[in-house]
Structures are given as C-alpha cells and as structure tokens.
C-alpha cells in the first residue's frame, strides 16, 4: 500500500519535472542565435521568411508553445528540420537500437572492469595490488574517449584486423565502441567501488564478522558488498542515462548512427523539434533510472527499508 503510494507520487512528480524540462527547453532553444534555415550560403530574406512561415516559426512564441504541447499530448513530436522528411519519432527510433546496444555493452564492460578492480583494491588496501589496479583504472579517466577510441580502432582494427575500425555491419561491431565507453565508466566505477567498500569495511559489524573468523571472500561479497556499492549505484543513474542516450564522440569515431549524434547535431542545426525530442527522450531516461536507483538504494540499505516500512 505504502509502496504503491510512493510510486504514484513519484510518478506525479516525474511528470511535472518532465513538463518543466520541455517548457524550459522550448524557450531556451529559441534564444540561441541563428535559426534552422540559415546555411552555408545565406538565402534571400524573403525565402527565409517563407520557410519560417511554413514551419509556423513566424507565430508568437506562446502560440507555438501551446501548439507544441497540444501535439505532444497526442504523441506527435513533429518533424525534424535537419533531417527533412523524417519525423522526430522516426529519427529517434532509428538511432535508439544502436545506442542501446553500444550503451548496454559499455555498461557490461564498465561493471566487468570496475567492480572487480575496485573490490580487489579495497581488500588489499595500500598494497601493490591496490596501487596497480587503481592506476589501471585511472588510465581510463586520464585518457579521454577521443584518444582511446582512435587508439582502439587503429590497434585492433587497422593493425591486428580483429574488428572493423569503422561501421555497423557485423555482429562484432559493437565491441570496440562499447569497450571505449566501458573503459571510461569502468574507471569511475572502480574508484567508487573501492571508496565505498573501504567505508563499509571499516564499520563495526564487519569488524565483528572478521573477529568471528568469517573468510575474507565472505566478508567482501556476503557482508560488505551491498553497502559498499551504494556510491556506484548512485553514479549508475546518470551514467546509464548517458550510456543509453549514446555518445557523440564514440559514434563519430566508429561511424555509428546512434542517438548521440542527434543530441549534438540537433543543437548545432537549431533543429528545434529534434532538440525537444532528444531532450524528452533523455529526460524520461534520467528520471526512470534515478527512480530505479532510489528503489535499489532502499533495497541495498536495510536501515532505509526499516524507516520506510
């Protein structure tokens, strides 16, 4: 009963937040200089005016806003200005599966790299193992994706020929882009895991368990793990949203037609409907994952569970 009420109220809040996001974005997008129709060679003013009229951009902003919200309520996101002839929904639907594949792959790599490294480092604090695994993790943060990506493409693609250096043709084509993302996020996760685990390992109940002779493995994964990964879980919300909505850099490097490109090009093209569409998509994603994270946090933290019950 309480659970249902919590979820319902959270849903209401989220809808309100979504509405705010759309409203703010609608108006700030129009504040940016330059319009969707000026191009390399400037078009005569009368043509410019006609184009704006055709898309309804000549009407007062509040009128456009009400019309947009009205359409949105019927599920109509409008048509893209940049990709002429495609609706915003189509543009997002074409990019989403690729971003999803790359993003989930990236998450997989990130967790596979980050959690073992972080746990290992925490369990052997201030030893060579700790320093080595943390240094390894730090490489992922110090070498930005725009360096890692080309390096992986050149080494595994051009030198060794194991994977395609570019394109989306074969089932293995997700590996290099996902790895590029995974190395970066994995580094964050490793550091946060180590920090969280150390925090927990210092707590009294762990000390008690240790005194009782519980094995190191059991302490790490039986007792400490749940509490230790709380910082990771909190980081995971934004990270997951970032991974799924695609990465412009990684897509550019590997020539993928995911969503990440649209986030940037919609803004640079002043493609207002697509800006709103991508922002809407991202907002739903971030609100959902943050909600899931909050639920997960309650589950990971027995004290909170008790408090809410």
């Amino acid at each position: 009963m309480d659970q249902t009420r919590y979820i319902l109220s959270r849903l209401g809040q989220s809808l309100l937040a979504l509405f705010c996001i759309i409203t703010i974005t609608f108006f700030i997008a129009r504040l940016a200089p330059g319009g969707p129709f000026n191009d390399d060679k400037a078009v005569p003013a009368h043509i410019q005016a006609k184009m704006e009229a055709y898309y309804g951009l000549d009407k007062p902003l509040p009128v456009q806003y009400i019309k947009y919200i009205g359409n949105l309520l019927t599920g109509d996101f409008g048509s893209s200005f940049g990709n002429k002839g495609f609706t915003v929904a189509e543009v997002i639907a074409q990019g989403a599966p690729i971003s999803l594949a790359i993003g989930l792959g990236g998450l997989l790599f990130a967790l596979a790299i980050g959690i073992p490294l972080g746990t290992l480092a925490a369990s052997r604090k201030n030893t060579k193992t700790d320093y080595f695994s943390m240094s390894f993790a730090m490489l992922g943060i110090c070498i930005p994706t725009f360096v890692v990506g080309p390096l992986l493409a050149i080494f595994f693609g051009l030198r060794l020929g194991w994977f395609n250096a570019w394109g989306w043709f074969q089932p293995t084509d997700w590996i290099l882009p996902s790895l590029t993302l995974g190395i970066y996020y994995g580094a964050y996760i490793a550091r946060l895991t180590r920090g969280g685990m150390l925090e927990i390992l210092g707590q009294d109940y762990i000390r008690t368990a240790r005194a009782k002779g519980v094995s190191q493995f059991n302490i790490l994964f039986g007792h400490a793990f749940r509490g230790g990964i709380i910082p990771v879980v909190n980081f995971l919300g934004p990270a997951l949203a970032g991974l799924i909505s695609g990465s412009f850099v990684v897509e550019t490097i590997f020539g993928l037609d995911g969503l990440g490109q649209h986030f940037i090009t919609a803004a640079t093209n002043r493609d207002y409907p697509l800006i709103l569409g991508t922002v809407f998509f991202y907002a739903v994603l971030i609100i959902t994952v943050n909600f899931l994270v909050d639920l997960l946090q309650v589950w990971l933290n027995p004290r909170l569970r008790a408090a809410r019950a």
């Binding site: 060679k41 074409q94 043709f169 090009t265």
Partner: protein
C-alpha cells in the same frame, strides 16, 4: 596475477582471431560493382529543390538528370542529358532544347518538357521557399515571380510547343548558360509523385522515401537510413542504361575527417571526402598513389567589416592583406597544394583569370599602416578575428594573427571562435570585425564569385556597397561577346581588389583519398562526377 591473466587472454584471443583472415569489404564491393563513397555529411533532403550542400548534390546527380549533364573528364564540355540537342539565338538570351523521346522516369513514365516547366514552377514558387531558387533567376521574370512581384507564372520565360520542345528565355545574355544548367537546382521532379504525397509547395513529404521516390537519373533510390547511408541502384528505365556499369552506390555520411581516413585504411570505403591537413604529408610520403590533390572552384578569404573602425580605411585593409604570407600558409599550414590567391575569383578553364592585385609585400604594408595613422602598429585598436570552430580555420587564424604581429606590430587582434550557427548569425548581422569565409562556385563562370559583392546582396555581409562595381557587373551582363564580357568582369574584380572589403587568402583544392579500383573518375573543378560513367575494376585486372 592480473597482468599474467591479461597477457594469457590476449594471446588466446589473438590465436583465435588471426587464423581467419578478413576479406576486405572494398575488394568484395569492387567485385560486385558496388561503389562505397564517403560523402561528407548527412543529406538534408533527397529533393533537388530543397538541397544546398555539396554532398547532397552528389546524391542528386545519381538520382536525377537535367537537360544537360556533366562530362566525366572535362568541365567545359556539355554532355546531353534529357535534351539531346540545343541551340540559342546570337544574343544567348533564348535557348531551345530538343528533349529525347526515350527519357523515362524510374517508374517508366516519359520525361516531358512539361515536367521541366512544372519543376521550375515549383522551384520558383514563393511558398516552396527553395533555398537555391535564385539559381533560376537567370530566366526572364523568374526573380519577380519568386519575390511575389508577379503572380502569373506564364509570364516567366518558359514555354513548350510539344512534349519534347522546351524554350527558355533569359533575362540577360548568358553565353555560359549551359554551365549553369548543370547545377542541381535545374533538375526535374516527377509531378504525379510530388502530388501523390502532398501539394506542389509542400516542403517535405513522404515522396522522398525509398519506395516512393521517383527520379529520372541513371540510378534510383534503394534505401535511406539517417546518419548511416543512402543507397542507389541502377534505374532500369534510364535511357542510357547500357552505359551504367555500377550495380550499386552507397553514400556514407562521415563528417569527421580522421574517422573517414580510418574507414578508408580499413578498406571499408572506396574514397574519402577530404583529408585532414596533418595526414596529407603522411599519404604523400607513404601512399602517393592514393592521395589526390585537384584544383577546385573555391576561394578562402576573410570578410572585413568596412563600417568598423579602423577597418573602414582601405589603407588599413590593404596593409592587413599585404602583410600575409600566403605561400607559407598553403605550404606549411593547409598543406593541400592550395594556390595563394592574388585576387578573389579562382582561375579556371573557362578563360577568365583575374589580374593579380595582391601579394606578400610587408614593406608596402607597413608604409600603408603608417599612412593610416598606426606606424608600427601603435595605437591600433583591439579587434576580433572571428572564425567558426574547426582546426584548420584555427590554425590559419593563429598563423595570420602572428604574421600581423610580426610584420605590422599589431598585437591587438584577438581570435574568437564560434559555433557554426552563432557564427552565421554574427556574419549576417555584421557584428564582426574580421571573419573567416569560404565560397564554392555554383557553376563555371566568374559571376558566381563576383555577383555576391553587389550592394545589398544576401551574401555580401561586409557593409561594402560600391556602385561603380555594381555598374561594371551590370554592363557585363548585357554583353554577349565572351571576351568583352570577361574584360568587363575583370574590371569589376579590380575594383573589388582595390577596395578590399575582403582579404583573399587562397584558392581551394580538392584533397581526397581514392581507391585505385575506381575507374573514370577524373579531376573536375566543380567535383561533379557523373556516376553513370564510373566503373569499379580491381587494380590487378586494370593492368591486364
């Protein structure tokens, strides 16, 4: 422990992969006559009336055919397209085209003179708001119709006496009109298809989609996936279908020059759209057979805001222009064999070449600057040099900033980079001091470079309004003798170069990587390769 494990797994992985050798996509594609082209950026549309980018025009030339067509290896030769023959009056103002009877749309319908009139009507219709409508203003009364000054389209200089006869009457003599006709804005569209999915003036409808799209070019649309590819296959109804050798062309939008180079090295595409300056010397040294550097009808220059102090003084503008060592810029910074500009219009095989009016002369530059009241750069106010964010623009700007500091003692020039649309707004609103610019010719005639500097032109944006210049262009437009006309245009260009509302820097080249399998792809100054002539033959077979 970890390094050992890593090493082991890497070794295992390398064993399992290295046993199977990858067949290259390009080799396979060549065997299948499938051309894989890197084409810059994603097309904005597949409608000839709505595109404006160079990459989009490439796709248009595969899907549509105009009255005349491009020659595979010459910029001046005019190939017959839908028109099999043509003639004009002595003044080059009335042009008659005889359309071939076997020209067909990709759905089998015949291509008629009416289709062209319909297409030009649509293109010029104010409600369609075509960005390139001004290309058709050569036609009598076209500009007036486009500007809604007249509403009766029958007054526009287009008529047909039969399905196969088209007469175009021009506003002014244009001996170069056939060159203009090669531009994508003159391509026809299929009326029933347009109107099946909307009205004549609807901007984008479902007609552009695969399955719906109808064209009259050597190829027809097969698929279009945003940011992935546009694919075309031969049009079975094309009149010259026997000459078409390719079975398929894929146009890939790859906006990043480093990415496309990796794709090329990985044998994923047959060419690149461009080459990053840092990679040019690398390819020249290691793979000279792959890199192509060809003249291109484009001019790279700086706009100068002539209403801004101290740039309102022509002496200051000339001093800035003369202090630039263009040879160093092209040889050490852009690296692509570009030609240091001595005027604005790039020389071409049309016969026009401008008088050289600017050079590298630091002595004279310092003298002019002193005359203008800033000896040794003293007292020169702070001004901005604005450019849109791109590495090559930045490197050129940094070099020029340093040249002005060294040669003229001007240390008060700030670099300002702006995001593309912000930059465009800055230019249009004339809110800059000096700004980077580039201009690519639409057709092979100097007017495509000179007309834009007339007072009040949309792309002038310098605040420069010179009536003598405008009059010289005006009088040139009535001349039908090519030599007299060029003489008058040269006169106009000299006025531009004496007043210098712009500082020319260099003339473009096309720099790209090309796989040796591509056949019949020859240098063209506008880079408009007719795909129907292009073939793919593996390099080993070519030798036999």
């Amino acid at each position: 422990m970890i390094p050992k494990f890593l090493f082991l797994s890497l070794t295992l992985a390398s064993l399992s992969f290295s046993s199977c050798s990858k067949t290259s996509r390009v080799a396979e594609a060549t065997a299948n006559k499938h051309l894989l082209l890197a084409n810059g950026s994603e097309p904005k549309a597949l409608d000839p009336a709505l595109v404006s980018a160079v990459g989009d025009a490439n796709i248009m030339r595969a899907l549509f055919e105009g009255l005349v067509a491009n020659h595979p290896s010459s910029d001046t030769i005019v190939e017959p397209g839908v028109a099999e023959s043509w003639s004009s009056n002595d003044e080059f103002t009335v042009w008659d085209f005889k359309l071939r009877k076997d020209a067909k749309w990709s759905n089998g319908d015949p291509v008629t003179a009416g289709d062209f009139i319909y297409s030009y009507h649509r293109m010029l219709h104010p409600e369609l708001a075509s960005p390139y409508a001004s290309m058709l203003w050569f036609i009598k009364n076209a500009e007036e119709f486009n500007r809604e000054e007249i509403s009766d389209f029958s007054k526009v200089g287009l008529e047909s006496s039969s399905d196969h006869d088209l007469r175009i009457t021009l506003k002014n003599p244009a001996p170069f009109f056939l060159q203009v006709l090669k531009h994508t804005s003159w391509l026809p569209v299929h009326q029933p298809t347009i109107e099946k999915f909307g009205t004549m003036t609807d901007q984008f409808t479902l007609w552009q989609r695969p399955g719906n799209h109808v064209g009259n070019g050597p190829f027809k649309l097969d698929s279009w996936k945003i940011n992935r590819s546009v694919e075309v296959t031969p049009n079975p109804h094309y009149w010259d279908r026997d000459i078409v050798k390719l079975k398929k062309i894929s146009f890939f939008p790859i906006p990043n020059e480093y990415t496309e180079e990796r794709a090329f090295s990985d044998n994923q595409v047959h060419n690149t759209y461009t080459v990053a300056p840092s990679l040019i010397p690398f390819y020249q040294k290691h793979h000279p057979e792959l890199i192509k550097i060809e003249p291109y009808a484009g001019s790279y220059f700086y706009r100068v805001n002539v209403n801004q102090k101290p740039l309102d003084d022509p002496k200051v503008r000339r001093a800035l222009a003369l202090a630039i060592d263009r040879k160093s810029i092209v040889e050490q910074v852009t690296l692509g064999g570009q030609i240091p500009a001595t005027a604005f219009t790039p020389p071409s095989e049309t016969g026009y070449s401008p008088d050289p009016r600017i050079s590298h002369d630091p002595e004279e530059a310092r003298r002019l600057l002193a005359e203008a009241g800033y000896p040794g750069g003293k007292g020169f106010p702070e001004i901005n040099l604005t450019y849109n964010t791109q590495d090559s623009h930045r490197n050129i700007a940094v070099s020029i900033q340093d040249m002005w500091r060294r040669e003229l003692g001007i240390g008060t020039i700030n670099l300002l980079n702006q995001e593309w649309k912000v930059f465009q707004a800055t230019i249009i609103d004339e809110k800059y001091d000096i700004a980077r610019a580039g201009w690519i010719g639409d057709y092979t005639d100097p007017t495509t470079f000179l007309n834009m500097w007339r007072p009040g032109e949309t792309n002038n944006n310098t605040g420069w309004a010179n009536e003598v210049f405008a009059e010289a262009l005006e009088s040139a437009s009535y001349l039908s003798d090519p030599n007299a006309r060029f003489e008058k245009l040269r006169e106009a260009e000299n006025i531009l170069m004496d007043d210098l509302p712009i500082i020319p820097l260099y003339w473009y080249t096309r720099v790209y990587l090309k796989h040796p399998d591509i056949v019949n792809w020859d240098p063209l100054i506008l880079d408009n390769h007719p795909y129907k002539h292009i073939d793919l033959v593996s390099a080993s077979e070519q030798k036999n």
